[in-house]
């Protein structure tokens, strides 16, 4: 059974009610600009990762957060494995629907895979070199 992780915890949920807004789903080929004007009313945005090695969703997430100012739940779905979680979170995802067969407890540990990152990201907008300079 696929596990949902939200806020770094294993979560359960029921489908959003209509007043919570719609669920938008983006495929790797979709342009986030196409949903920009609906983001404010969305219950959540899902970005699909159809294959383990398909990294387009990482760029899509950063664009949603950084260019289009999306603040709501951003959920990675599809072939989402434990070893993606650290990068996904850095790029702005805060919810993760793990693919079948992933061990949920082991997956939670993945958020601590690295204690520091060099780059600017959604999670840490100030790159390490600027923090080192302080």
């Amino acid at each position: 059974m696929a596990t949902l992780i939200k806020g770094r915890r294993i979560a359960t949920e029921s489908p959003p009610s209509p007043e919570q807004g719609e669920v938008l789903r983006l495929e790797p080929t979709d342009d986030p600009a196409s949903v920009a004007d609906r983001l404010g009313r969305a219950a959540r945005v899902e970005v699909n990762f159809p294959k383990f090695g398909d990294g387009r969703g990482f760029s899509i997430a950063r664009l949603l957060r950084e260019r289009y100012g999306y603040k709501g739940e951003l959920r990675a779905v599809g072939q989402v494995g434990r070893d993606h979680l650290f990068y996904l979170e850095s790029c702005g995802f805060d919810a993760f629907l793990l693919r079948d067969g992933e061990d949920p407890e082991e997956a939670l540990a993945a958020f601590n895979d690295f204690s520091e990152s060099y780059q600017a990201s959604v999670k840490q907008p100030i790159p390490l070199f600027r923090r080192r300079a302080k």
Partner: protein, 560 residues
């Protein structure tokens, strides 16, 4: 050397822990073969023809003697006491055991080394000129910029699952010794009329099965914008690079399909959003990185003539000793191209001995060149005779740098699972045929590059003579091209149908004969002649006789 600070060390330690856990999960059956492949490759671990192969990163080719001794130790403890320096300035171990790789990585981390992103569909080791920091025509010290790009590319969360591998080269001098035109991104440092540093940015070059010369995206990108501009290029590539066909997934195909002008517009449009953002570089960071590099404590020697000695010494000086920006010093190439030894291979004992030489003669550091040799970059001119004697005793003083026998060669079918044909025996047969040094010097500068398959790890497209192993119904054949050049980048042209392995040395000899007949002076190199007169005269000489002698064997159509 760039010396890690506490954070750099911690990130590498985190990686060791992460990979140990990934290996554990794989061995416990919790990770599928396919998923583990994607993870282990980005740690340089291949499953090869006979055993795993571990590619250890040597960032921009720079090594300390402490690190080299560690590599020697590791090769003794976990492998068969030798290693292979690759054309991307890395070191490959051909016989490690999968279960022991996490331990090897932990040992590497103890000397600030790793195997991060040495393979896989991510940003690979940044390569540069092996004379960085000592070249007389230096614009900037490219090591500093390579390290800044290394940090930006290391575990970059957005660009860790690209359509395909991604190679960046930085050249910091006027002459291009980093082959910037044949990389996914090539950065050539330049100064503008105000003497400010920037980079000429080329995108979409590459070798492999579809060799291409990169297109200039910007003539001058001010240094502050380097990382945001790279972000823009990588983002466009990550989103739109082809993922439906492995053979069309490199950025060069995207640039070709879009057209360079359209591609440039897309990058610029993306960059407009990123420019001047937090990833814009600041002078403090450049200074910080510069300050973390160890610097040789040069003596104030003034110009010193290289001591005269025997003709053998003079030949070595002519080929293997290179000018240095500091008076009284020289850079020295230790040749790993001795006849009978696979190009780029070094034994553990040689590694230790080389570390000794570097300690005594070159401030404890050395470089790996993309031509698969080792460079001692800071040798006092007066020490050259002593160094030469020691290097010669170790079999590392073959005076063939820039000559025909300084062959660039991939591991080929002897090791590599991808290869169509063996490459090392071809290199050896050619080296044996051309073992007369006087003749080699008479032929003059000639790059001969051999790849065992169209992935082109041996850079055959940019060899003055390039040899490509092809498979025909399970048999090994060799296609020959001429006229390629590393810098300025030019791609070779295939002279005709491929050859059996045994015929390759004859073919090379005929190419050389043709060259010697047609050159207008000793100054005109093989590649100059090939580019001036075209392939026809070479073709006639090579195939004219073969046509009558071996009507069938030599006239098989080429595959690639």
């Amino acid at each position: 050397m760039y010396l890690y600070d506490e954070i750099d060390s911690r990130i590498v330690d985190d990686r060791v822990k992460q990979f140990r856990d990934q290996t554990r999960r794989f061995l416990a059956g919790k990770l599928s073969e396919d998923d583990f492949r994607a993870l282990r490759l980005r740690n340089g671990l291949y499953i090869q023809r006979y055993a795993p192969m571990l590619r250890i990163a040597i960032p921009y080719g720079l090594l300390s003697t402490r690190q080299l001794r560690k590599l020697a130790d590791i090769s003794r403890k976990y492998d068969r006491a030798y290693g292979h320096f690759s054309t991307r300035q890395n070191l490959q171990l051909n016989w490690p055991r999968l279960e022991q790789v996490p331990d090897i990585l932990a040992e590497l981390a103890s000397v600030q080394m790793h195997a991060i992103q040495t393979s896989g569909n991510c940003i690979r080791n940044i390569t540069t000129d092996h004379f960085a920091g000592v070249a007389q025509d230096e614009v900037v010290d490219s090591f500093v910029w390579c390290e800044i790009i290394r940090q930006w590319s290391t575990f970059n969360p957005e660009f860790s699952y690209l359509p395909r591998k991604f190679k960046i080269a930085v050249n910091g001098s006027v002459s291009d010794r980093a082959a910037v035109a044949v990389h996914d991104i090539g950065l050539h440092a330049v100064k503008n009329h105000l003497n400010e540093v920037g980079f000429k940015v080329l995108v979409g070059g590459g070798l492999g099965r579809t060799p291409m010369i990169g297109h200039v995206m910007r003539e001058f990108l001010p240094w502050q914008h380097l990382l945001t501009y790279l972000d823009a290029i990588l983002r466009v590539y990550n989103r739109y690079g082809r993922r439906d066909n492995l053979n069309k997934a490199r950025i060069k195909i995207l640039v070709k399909e879009r057209g360079p002008d359209k591609f440039r517009e897309e990058i610029e449009a993306e960059w407009a959003h990123l420019k001047d953002g937090p990833a814009t570089l600041i002078p403090e960071e450049i200074e910080r990185v510069q300050a973390r590099f160890t610097r040789p404590a040069y003596e104030n020697l003034g110009p010193e003539p290289i001591p005269e000695n025997s003709p053998a010494f003079a030949a070595w000086v002519k080929r293997n000793v290179h000018a240095h920006k500091v008076p009284g010093y020289a850079a020295v190439t230790l040749s790993l191209k001795k006849t009978g030894v696979p190009p780029g291979d070094v034994t553990a004992d040689q590694m230790d001995a080389i570390a000794g030489l570097a300690d005594r003669y070159s401030f404890g550091e050395l470089r790996v060149s993309h031509e698969q040799n080792l460079i001692l970059a800071d040798v006092r001119a007066r020490d050259l005779p002593a160094l030469w004697r020691e290097a010669r005793a170790l079999g590392l003083a073959t005076p063939n740098v820039g000559l025909l026998t300084n062959i660039i060669c991939c591991p080929g079918g002897d090791f590599c699972a991808l290869a169509n044909a063996k490459s090392i025996p071809v290199a050896q047969a050619i080296q044996e045929r051309f073992d007369d040094l006087d003749y080699l010097h008479e032929i003059g500068e000639l790059d001969l590059n051999i790849s065992g398959c169209m992935n082109a790890c041996g850079h055959h497209h940019v060899g003055h003579i390039g040899i490509l192993g092809v498979d025909k119904n399970g048999e090994e054949w060799y296609q020959v091209e001429i006229g390629g050049n590393q810098a300025p980048g030019a791609l070779g042209k295939v002279i005709g149908p491929s050859f059996a392995r045994a015929d390759v040395p004859d073919v090379i000899e005929r190419l050389i004969d043709t060259y010697l007949v047609h050159r207008d002076s000793e100054a005109e190199r093989f590649v100059d002649v090939a580019q001036r007169i075209g392939i026809e005269p070479f073709k006639e000489r090579v195939y004219g006789n073969a046509h009558q002698r071996a009507p069938d064997r030599n006239r098989e159509p080429a595959l690639a």
